[in-house]
Symmetry: C2
Subunit: 756 residues, 2 copies
């Protein structure tokens, strides 16, 4: 560690001052000349025919300029969430946009939307996965389920398994089924000494960023394209989606990735195409910023999942069979998330025999999307609960049982490759030594319980490039083409500083639109720093090489005889022979200059995944009278490869764990039988507050990855994965009761306690 | 030529549709949230003490928010035009900004400016170069003339000569004097058989773009920097100037080079720093768009020049001595333009003996700047008139006399190097064959006159870089960091198309701000295409190489076996084995992709100048009654190296010649004895209209340069250079009278005719 000047040093995020002083401008702050403010009119039914839309009152209201329905827009068929259009003839979920009101200010648009009268003829709706697969179920998509791609790929959730079944089947609400088999699962279970199995249920859970989704589109009347600003995770992905919807080449669309006030997988594309189509249709800039209610009602939370898990062990604790069968309620559009959940269940333990099955069903509810480590809180609730139960049955220490079966470097990985260097064992070993774990029996003696769980994440990959320029003031400007969700620019600045040889405060991070930025993929899959970090390092090294080449010619020495010290290039051993970096840059940035401008470029397309692991230890007290679970302590032990910036790494660990606490104890998108969302505001949708989520202790473990920048791995997703399981295991430790449904609310726990 | 697919093909400018439909947004179209509109209160005196500023009436006017004087701004000393601040205590030229009114709309700002009462105590002013150097003259800068750099360097006008004299001298209005001597001028003249000499005078002439100067600045309260939008020739130069004024690192300033509606050298920096300081002072975005009157009153026209030229020839026509002595009236700020004029006089004819002297004086008039081929219309009026006279004295054909003494490849050039491949001879030979020239005696027989002249331009150099990306739609996006004054993006698109192997309509040109763009210098000196063209070609070649490398891996063949045909990469000889370019790009722009994104980079720092030449032949009729000169025909014969886009090359030739006609016959910034501008509107400042300037014939000559892209040379400046001389020679041919002062208005010609 001491070899590094900047890597590994806790570094406050470079845009912190702009954020805390309110100087950073978000999408909602954007005002363009002649811009119209948009507000949706949303369906109040989960399933109904639209028999009339009366916009006359709205159009008469002050400030309202237009009210559009699907009839006013080109007929683009919404084949996926990213192509969601205004409803045509029929609504198919509560919160579906039926009309859009355009006004010269936001308040007028909201008032106008209230005044649009939509007449419905209600129809029966399918609102749960049980209903969806029941005999004689209503059919959500009578003309066939659309086949548009979901966004799970962007989150790294495509790490194996068979493709969704595209065969022609009889019409149903089943969007796809997958099955993956290794070895002989039946004979393995027949040979098992201990078998554990249970069914687990998690509801739809909402990402609920502080900043709602929002977009501004400015049409280009010359080519039918546009410029878009948005709080989006993938500017280049949005460019492609919008171009597809508009029917123009992607080069005629420019996307400005704006500062993102939270995303967590929800901002991979939703209404961009619709906003773009509205703007090009009316020929004026259009701004649509979702309200909190709309954010909850009409975006893309995590799917509801049911997972039946089953493990078979030999008497010595050797795992020999893993089976999972997942049903996913993916709302109105199909998604492959169920198969990913089935895969995640079995990805990180050694087992020669596997059977992983999944069924994805559609229902008359809003569509689903990625949410931080998609499906993994559920998959690991299952596998880690079952490991705990198996340990008891085998009379083994739960950590030792996990260690015995944990995946190790070189084992076969779920993506078909062998695992690169991984640190699952080191993570478990570190957790084993944590005081919270070591003192678990003392805790139980006080009537509390301590549970442990681990989560793993394969990590995503995507090519990307970076540019690194040196300015006359000695500042290094670093460009990449991705958004910032988690403070990675600060880490990139550290990498650039380290690779080039200047202080971090001499590095400026440049945000550009998709025309000007080097390519970078969507931010997700915990891949941003892991992959693009190498591009930044290479760009900085390229810039350094160019800098030293100029200095070498100026000093008439070899570049090898030069070093960069305190913002100056100097001849080794001759501190008097030195020149400021900025002056070297200036020699190229001037009339008659004889050197090429210092313009470093770096690219990467790493294909070696760097899986990462997070173990958590939860201590709880359970009120036997009420069933209330009180989280007393939560330890987050995470293997991060190399903590480029320990501050932001710890921030990710804490933030992920807090969201895990929400999954475990509080959060649920609850729908009634008619498909009405009951938790449609932050008054009703319960997220943990600061007291409920704390205290969280973090511990970083470092097992350097082979291909990451200075050994770093992605850190964003792992910490949300094991929290549910750790808390459930703690509840079991305290009470002997196994919780199989989230959130583990007081009534549910009380119910379970009663059945004890 | 037929070897090229796109180079050399007449190609309509790619942004033409946006321009003619009004869809291209200029600086004045920009509206930012909370933006204030600024209007200057300008000095009405050339020299006066300010005894009071009363803004109360202005501040009471509706919409006016602030009225600032120098007391409200940080005390930045204006050391050059680029740092012009509000007047402090004293005004020193008519049109100097004294106060600035900020209002919430432009009309309110204009009304407010009318209401600001400034009280003056008039002082004696120096308003002409004669006055400035007269015994006992008033001193324009009693505390010493500022030494800030002028902008002539940016125009390529620094091609040699001694530096301005910086010695401590007694206080005067002389800002600098230069002297350059080669051989022995006195003995040369003593040996000459024919000596010709005269003194020539040209007034201040204004660039008068259709779009006036204008800027918008948005302050960044976090670092004291800002973002600026402006109609500027040098975004990176403006960045540096503004950062200097604000006292921040240049990396804290971002400049957006907006579409430029004409510049011609005038837009290299003027009020950017002041606008920036006003914006950071008030903490809101500020827009200042000059009116036409302000544009004429308070910007930076070409200097007034007086040049005494003298040539000595042997009887056989061999030039043996060239002498020039230039006095330049550079207005209120110093400039080195006088020495450049002295140099230009002698740059392109072989002469072993030279004496080139210059004196730059300051006066109480607005400052001067670059104007297309700075000082050259005057310098070549002198040398080309004298060549004409010498030819008569030697009884030689004027073209033959020039050919005999013209500079050739390998001759010593004024920059101290030897001339690279040049085409002065070829240009003269082409002109000699032009019907307008061949029929000159027939023309005279009709009472008309035909004159010929040639002009030369060394051409500027500046390093620069370019980026070239391939998108999923098969479009190549090309980025450079310079402004567009003359349609170069279309030529760059042709170069990229040629180098990469796609159609021009598959190339998109990307305009970025100084944070996102690769470095490019100011547009001037006829260097943009000549220098940056190579960077674009290299970036496109780099992108092509990357593209073929991906295809080679996909097809498992060597890259040498691949070709790009009709937007697809195919295996040579196997048209069935092909893939669309966009699909190759997409293989890198996707989750899990295994190729680096296609991101080509190219840089250049060419040090080999490519001088270029333009000969013009004018046919005139002179009304002996009134003195009016009627331009009947004007032929423009220009050597361009390689006409990448003949359409834009001819556009430059015609545009330059039209401005030359303005210099010759119409344009003059006329001041009265008190320094009041008499030609302060386009009603008074006469520019040639379409009838007065036409008809212009163009003829392209191509002598490929050594280092330019496909042999191209810069073409922007040469065509304005010889027009004055050609018309003056035509007047002499028609009347026998030698005009030595411009514009050659009817009264002046009549006066000369009377003295015949």
């Amino acid at each position: 560690m001491s070899d590094f000047s900047f890597v590994g040093k806790p570094t406050p995020v470079i845009d912190g001052p702009a954020k805390v002083t309110g100087n950073l401008k978000y999408t909602a702050d954007l005002k363009l000349a002649r811009m119209l403010h948009a507000r949706f009119v949303l369906s109040t039914y989960a399933h109904a025919n639209i028999t009339g839309v009366d916009a006359s009152a709205a159009l008469a209201a002050p400030g309202v300029e237009r009210v559009l329905t699907c009839d006013d827009l080109p007929d683009v068929t919404p084949s996926s969430r990213a192509r969601l259009m205004l409803a045509r003839d029929r609504v198919i979920f509560v919160g579906q946009p039926v009309a859009i009101v355009l006004a010269d200010n936001a308040a007028a648009a909201a008032d106008g939307a209230e005044l649009v009268e939509v007449e419905y003829e209600p129809l029966d709706a399918v609102t749960s996965m049980d209903e969806a697969v029941a005999e004689g179920a209503n059919i959500v998509w009578p003309t066939g389920i659309p086949t548009g791609a979901g966004d799970e790929a962007a989150h790294g959730a495509d790490t194996g398994g068979e493709a969704d079944d595209d065969e022609e089947e009889e019409i149903s609400n089943i969007a796809g089924q997958t099955k993956m088999e290794t070895g002989d699962i039946n004979s393995a279970f027949a040979q098992a000494d201990v078998i554990v199995e249970r069914t687990f249920d998690t509801p739809m859970v909402h990402q609920s960023s502080i900043e709602t989704q929002g977009w501004v589109a400015q049409p280009n009347p010359l080519n039918g394209g546009l410029t878009m600003w948005g709080s989006v995770q993938s500017p280049f992905g949005v460019r492609q989606d919008v171009a597809d919807v508009l029917g123009v080449p992607e080069s005629d669309v420019t996307v400005n990735g704006m500062p993102v006030g939270g995303a967590f997988g929800a901002k991979f594309g939703l209404y961009e195409g619709l906003v773009g189509l509205v703007a090009t249709t009316v020929g004026r800039p259009v701004s649509l910023i979702l309200t909190r209610g709309e954010e909850l009602l009409t975006t893309n939370p995590a799917p509801a999942l049911r997972i039946h898990g089953k493990l078979g062990f030999k008497g010595d604790g050797t795992l020999i069979a893993m089976q999972s069968d997942v049903t996913a309620d993916t709302g109105i559009y199909p998604s492959g998330l169920g198969s990913f959940a089935a895969m995640q269940f079995a990805s990180f333990y050694r087992s020669p025999n596997l059977l992983l099955e999944s069924t994805n069903v559609v229902t008359n509810k809003q569509s689903v999307g990625a949410y931080r480590a998609p499906t993994s809180p559920t998959a690991f609730m299952a596998v880690e609960t079952l490991f705990d139960e198996a340990a008891a049955a085998l009379d083994m220490d739960p950590v030792e049982l996990r260690l015995k079966n944990a995946a190790r470097t070189g084992d076969p990985a779920p993506d078909g490759e062998d695992f690169s260097v991984i640190g699952m064992v080191e993570t478990l070993e570190a957790a084993r030594e944590h005081p919270l774990w070591k003192n678990r029996e003392e805790s139980r003696s006080k009537g509390r319980g301590v549970g442990i769980a681990i989560g793993g994440w394969m990590g995503g990959l995507e090519p990307g490039a970076s540019v690194c320029k040196l300015n006359r003031d000695g500042v290094l400007q670093v460009q990449i083409g991705t958004a910032d969700l988690s403070g990675t620019p600060t880490s990139f600045a550290q990498l650039a500083a380290e690779a080039y040889g200047v202080d971090v405060d001499k590095v400026r991070f440049v945000y550009s639109d998709t025309d000007s930025a080097p390519y970078g993929g969507g931010v997700g899959g915990s891949k941003t720093l892991y992959t693009l970090g190498n591009a930044v390092i290479r760009a900085a090294e390229d810039a350094r090489r160019q800098t030293l080449a100029i200095a070498a010619e100026e000093f008439e020495v070899s570049a090898e005889d030069l070093e960069i010290v305190d913002g100056r290039v100097q001849v080794r051993g001759f501190p008097d022979r030195s020149v400021a970096l900025g002056d070297l840059a200036g020699k190229a940035m001037t009339f008659g200059g004889k050197y090429d401008p210092i313009h470093g470029t770096g690219s990467q397309s790493v294909t070696d995944r760097a899986p990462s692991f997070c173990a958590q230890i939860a201590e709880v007290a359970v009120d036997e009278e009420t069933g209330e679970v009180d989280l007393l302590n939560l330890a987050v032990v995470q293997e991060v490869g190399r903590a480029i910036n320990p501050l932001t790494v710890e921030g990710q660990m804490q933030g992920g764990a807090v969201q895990g606490v929400g999954w475990a104890l509080y959060e649920e998108m609850r729908y009634d039988e008619e498909g009405q969302l009951l938790s449609g505001s932050w008054m009703d949708y319960a997220m943990p507050d600061a007291v409920q989520a704390s205290p969280i202790q973090t511990q970083i473990v470092e097992v350097p990855s082979v291909s990451g920048p200075f050994g770093a791995r992605g850190v964003g997703e792992p910490p949300v994965i094991p929290t549910v399981a750790a808390i459930a295991n703690a509840v079991a430790h305290a009470t002997g009761v196994r919780m199989t449904q989230t959130p583990m609310t007081a009534p549910r726990v009380l119910e379970a306690l009663k059945g004890r």
